[in-house]
Symmetry: C3
């Protein structure tokens, strides 16, 4: 594929500096890009490299010196480059249809331009939108509903009745709609509570490899529009995750917890059940959240506390042994001082006392 | 389905208060239940809602005010409701037989009323009990044994020779019997130690989505009767897990560790290898256990310590910076005091000294 | 199978003590081994058991008393026993060929003696070496390359263009080459950055059940020769893992981090992104590493610090409440002392002052 600098500028919403007509065939980094390619400067620290790059054009933030190079000036060069990367690397999707070795149940509705690979198994009464790709060995249970432009990678399972929105991508081995972890103790053993709800995954969600989102006990577990979930993440039953959240690998959210919008959970974070995490909250990696989090809070630690304060406390942690020793020594020194003062106070002359004594002798 | 209040009371082992003949068609919460439905009061805090619910009957703990409603009185309303939910929501299982696209090995014995879905692959010499369901893309390696009423969800793998008890449910993508993580370092590289044992999963166990239970090096890894394992849990080789344990999502148990009965592991707990965890022990979420745990202990933290004590220590953690500062200040103040006493003690009159001096002047 | 003691000694590179001609049919532990079997002593503490074992021969470290038994003397008895276990338990592999129900794409090259099981799906232009086993429901995307003697267990997915070396074993449900977790925030939502790199898994690597290794954004994520990865491990995009590393269950490595050779990560360890972990570093279980680690360092904790120092600090943690109290008390005692000295210093006679006062009265 080949486009003019002007065409690319329009595609990323930027202004051309230099020759709008030059033709761009691909992209590379400031170091690796060759003639005919475009590169980008995201980090101002490397601004000098713009002068040396062999690229035919550079994507720059407004206000950056283009060193006389042909350039596209934008507000967010990193985002613009991601868009260019998409333009240059996305191959047109060729629908494969229902391939031999795929198994389709009864009363299934499949939209146009589907690719359903060998080993994919589609249950009864499933509804599949347009331009959907089911990779090999995907399993859709009965009554699943998939939107348009959905991609389910090999080994994904979507359990009975769950609903997946448009443009959702689910990576290999992820499970949507497994039973929530709910039991009623009868004193001796545990009685399984039927999990009869579903999972609703809204539009533009991405879910990572081998993650699991449990179905609700009643009603629905929900993953909000645009939320991105990494690999090996656990989402408990009846969780409601807001829009545009980022949930990093191996994080876990216990049942019935609600995340607002734009919440970020770092890797291996754990959130206890039945909590509310406010909009824009950020929980740093490996933290454990045991209580509600207000909007915009930045927390870390187990239990989680304000991140900056925790860094200060964590910096003291290595000094605990010396602190304990000096505290013990301090106690000994203090007692010595107190005992000394105790003893001398018996003899220490009170105000004017010497005089009295002296007078006696006079 | 429709049952009288009396029939339901007998099914859950409770007493009817009010009209035993009223007919119940379904269930709901105190807020959502409609006429013809039954609801329940588990939390006494909401007792007042019993008066207002539109439900035709209520499941109550003995001693609770029924506000004149038709009721079933039981010892454990939550458990009773779970049973009612099961009664009203469980659809009769319709065996599908060996469906087209399922692949069955040689010398396989399959009990009556099986449902073996497309893409399920059954190895040689496998023995399958009655009323077993193998969902699509399940894989049973050679010589696997499954009990009666087993349900294996899509993507489950059971490795060579492993044995699964009766009424076991294994959720999507879980792996039973993968090789234990055992190597003999030869100085440079690691030499793989053959893992020739198996996994034994006893009756009434449930294992969550994408969990992994490794086969033993020799002998067997064992999951005890009635134990419930959540999603993304790791059980190492040669572990022996007792009966009726609860192991919450993303917990990990290293090799050769033994759990007693009724042990509870919270989410993301890690238990080191070769340990013994006593009956009824509870380890709270995100804890790390590096030594044996006595029966009934309630631990948390990394390393795990008694839970209440840890909460007290964790409450002090945010104060560490101020503690360190005040400890430093204390040292300075102490030194000042000591130096002062040092100096004055040279001049401080000893008992009677003033008199002597005064006398001298007389 | 049956071998003479001499043959076994040569196979493990050891010397025979006693009768080199005795025939060995199998192995067991010091307690369980019977006549005709060989056992081993790895832990000197059990040396006395060598006298009592019913085994016909014992594998011993040089310098250990054989108590007059037939023995093989080696430098590393544990390693030698692992080799003997391999010799006696490994059954000859019987190639099954491409079995009915396996699906092979176009322009696929498959080496000799393959076993491709039912439900395995091989994409287009895939290259497969000799003696490769693909278990049921394995999925290879287009353009995958597998070396010789590779074993992929059921449910494994290898994504487009990824390369797997010789003698690699990947356990059930693991995913190689899922998209890295990369998005460009556009202010409101997240724009997906195409992940167009691959994963390269070098020779002799083993990867555990339900683990995930993400493909690179550009270039390659790499797992070095001989590295062993346990179950449920997450490896982020563009990570480079050195040779002969040990990565224990549920550990996670964020994007672009580099591990040297012989690095050990304990269970549930988290390593932040863009870090360098030096050769031979050891990170103990549940630790969180937020900065570079020098070669040979042994760290633990969150954030990770030198392991021994952390143990000392962790031992003080339970004493924090009492430390805080005694620090508060110390402040009160100190103030009391200071105030007392303050008051008495007004009246405390300065050198010779009493005399002056006395003289005044004289």
């Amino acid at each position: 594929m080949e486009k003019t600098l002007l065409e690319l500028a329009e595609l990323v919403g930027g202004q051309v500096v230099g020759d709008p007509g030059i033709r761009i065939k691909g992209l590379g980094t400031l170091e690796t890009a060759r003639e005919g390619q475009i590169t980008f400067l995201a980090n101002p620290r490397y601004a000098a490299k713009v002068a040396d790059t062999r690229a035919s054009a550079v994507v720059l933030a407004s206000g950056t010196n283009p060193f006389g190079r042909n350039a596209i000036v934008v507000g967010n060069p990193y985002l613009a480059f991601a868009k260019l990367l998409t333009i240059f690397t996305t191959r047109p999707r060729v629908p494969r249809g229902i391939m031999p070795g795929a198994i389709i149940g009864e009363e299934v509705a499949i939209g146009e331009f589907a690719s359903i690979h060998p080993g994919a198994v589609v249950g009864d009464r499933v509804v599949i939108g347009e331009r959907v790709t089911l990779h090999p060995n995907v399993t859709l249970y009965d009554d699943v509903v998939l939107g348009d432009d959905v991609t389910l990678h090999s080994g994904v399972s979507v359990r009975e009745g769950c609903r997946i929105g448009n443009r959702v991508i689910i990576h290999n081995g992820a499970t949507i709609g497994s039973d929530g972890f709910g039991y009623a103790p009868d004193g001796a053993a545990y009685f399984k509570i039927p999990q009869i709800g579903i999972v609703i995954v809204e539009d533009d969600v991405e879910i990572g490899a081998n993650s699991a989102v449990d179905r609700a006990a009643l009603e629905a577990t929900r993953v909000g529009r645009g939320t991105k979930i990494d690999n090996l993440v656990q989402v408990g039953h009846n969780c409601v995750i807001g829009e545009d959240c980022i949930i990093v690998g191996q994080a876990g959210i216990a049942g019935s917890t609600r995340l607002g919008k734009h919440v970020t959970l770092g890797g291996q974070v754990a959130i206890a059940g039945h909590l509310t995490i406010g909009d824009g909250a950020m929980i740093s990696g490996k933290s454990g959240v045991m209580s509600d989090v207000a909007p915009g809070e930045v927390l870390s630690g187990i239990p989680a506390m304000p991140h900056q304060a925790r860094l200060r406390s964590a910096a003291v942690f290595p000094h605990l042994p010396e602190m304990r020793k000096s505290l013990a020594r301090m106690g000994i020194r203090m007692t010595k001082v107190e005992e000394h003062l105790e003893s001398v106070s018996n003899v220490m002359p009170l105000p004017g006392q010497e005089c009295a004594m002296a007078r006696g002798y006079a």
